[in-house]
Subunit: 361 residues, 2 copies
Amino acid sequence: MAKPSSKPAAKSAPRREPAGVQAKPTINDIARLSGVSKKTVSRVINNSPLLNEETRERVEQVIRETGYVPNPQARALALGRNFLIGLIHDNPNAQMILNMQQGILEALRDTDFELVVRPVDRGSATMLDDVRSFLTRQRLYGVVILPPISENSQLAALCNEIGCRYVRMGSAILDDADHMVASNDRDAVAEATRYLISQGHTRIGLVAGPHGFRSARERREGFEAALAEAGIKLPRSLVADGQYTFESGISATDSLLDLSPRPTAIFACNDEMAAGVLFAARERGLAVPDDLSIVGFDDTPIAARVWPPLTTVRWPIVAMGRSAALKLISGTIAHAEDVTEPSLFISTLIRRGSVAPPRKD
Amino acid sequence: MAKPSSKPAAKSAPRREPAGVQAKPTINDIARLSGVSKKTVSRVINNSPLLNEETRERVEQVIRETGYVPNPQARALALGRNFLIGLIHDNPNAQMILNMQQGILEALRDTDFELVVRPVDRGSATMLDDVRSFLTRQRLYGVVILPPISENSQLAALCNEIGCRYVRMGSAILDDADHMVASNDRDAVAEATRYLISQGHTRIGLVAGPHGFRSARERREGFEAALAEAGIKLPRSLVADGQYTFESGISATDSLLDLSPRPTAIFACNDEMAAGVLFAARERGLAVPDDLSIVGFDDTPIAARVWPPLTTVRWPIVAMGRSAALKLISGTIAHAEDVTEPSLFISTLIRRGSVAPPRKD
DNA sequence: TTGTATGCGTTATCAA
DNA sequence: TTGATAACGCATACAA
């Protein structure tokens, strides 16, 4: 005999496990215990259609009894891809990212997928290379890309090139249905603006979002459309630039409130800036909503926590996150063939105390 | 010859890569190109000390030229553990989780580690089993556990049993230095309370945190200690229970402000509740800070965005996240032997507009 | 419908 | 200090 062959078929390589940890069963154990080959067990695991029902049940029985779970690392190596969903973002809005995570995780619950988080720097020259190396090295199953970086179509092209599934999230439909979940920002802002108009406001200021953000454009256009529709002129002076930050909301408001006559209402393109508008109004001793009505966008927690609470636009971000993840993994779910995840999500106006008719003077 | 051996040493298995993707070089390619064995390349990758300097440099040269990166999936399989850091939390505070993520990701930048997020349900009966299967299946390198679930010592015991590195985060030192990053909540609250006392307040209400939260206990005890120190009695009626939520802050305040005489200041055990205190005061038409001074805890964004901005306690959460991650991976970093990450982090009082001396009546 | 042989890319063992 | 060879656990091609 060439080889020692001391242990004929023991197959009990103990490995250096910490004390108290029993070695987890592998596919080999299941195969042996149920008297079939590894391949058959593999077929059971992967829901292969060509399998004798009886065999399947026997194997599944053993799997249940042993508590066997396939090793994700081994699967990843053999398949050439991981069971990981990536979340790529460069967004300063903590609440949005976290809500998105929540939605994605809801969809991933009870699946084999895990969520890995990847913030990127939009400004960096190496951003695309960073993402490329991240995707190719980790061989993610798919990624969800959050705005504003989701508006970068080079990123989507990169995913296609690499062969990584992706779903973009944004304020307009920038991609086909399989790769996009979008909110209808333009319509939602138009509705909010119409509401201000219906309250009697005609001098309405806009705190716009930063240049280069698609959401900023959509929201601004919705605002302008509603005014035009009502025959209200929008002088350039009533539009102030913002950066989606609280501080930029304050300074934008300062310039708007310096106007004479000053606006009786301000629409801010997100809640952070709307909070800044409110803050700036208070600093000047203005009463909200009597001296100034305010509407925001996002319905982040801050909108309901300031005084008075802000009228704002709520978009179903958790549902969008869930849908984005489902789009990614739908191929792996048995009963998902017939269900089509929506791509366009409807926002709604939340009316709170920050809007009232303008004061008669 | 038994085997066909059609391709002697080509080793160019094309695999089904998407068009345009060149196959990534493997350890075999590097070994061949640099004329050494796989094992030697492996030694280079893993910084093995027993290696000829000359050999090392030659291999490293080839690695640079080819842009080779080790396949994480293969390493995971061979090593029996992944290059993933988990973040386990059950916390309702979005900003804290996100700041923590930021800190961890800063530490993980330029390493081979990725961050996977895992929310758990503290109330669930299967929580421990869920975490166990998560940890054993994914074979995480280590986990960071956030409060309040980090206070559950069964979780730490589970990590030890499984052999998974962990670092807990909390409001008191619950574990040894290698497994803990803590803030000094008690001292910080005592300081904040002393500040209120120094402004002339003696009737100070407390909106406490929920029972069972260590942070709630620490903060309450710090509050009580500062009062006792100053010889101020704390009637039971001046303590209202809260749940760390905005709404609970409102209702707790309602009960406190119904007292007669009512408190001239309120310390809320977190900013969410402090925002609720402010909101409730406004609802009653009270002026803050003239009629009522308010102090919060956390320095979340909302603290600076309400009017008046809230005096609060800031704890260095991003730094704590970074430190927690560094504690986990310090074994893998070359120069980290001598640097010891701190375990106790100091919070600071941030003075804003919500505190003033009590009105003389 | 099932099994055999082989590959995935890395690390570990042990001998040279 | 290095290298040949065997794991690691699962999936696929192809044969039975």
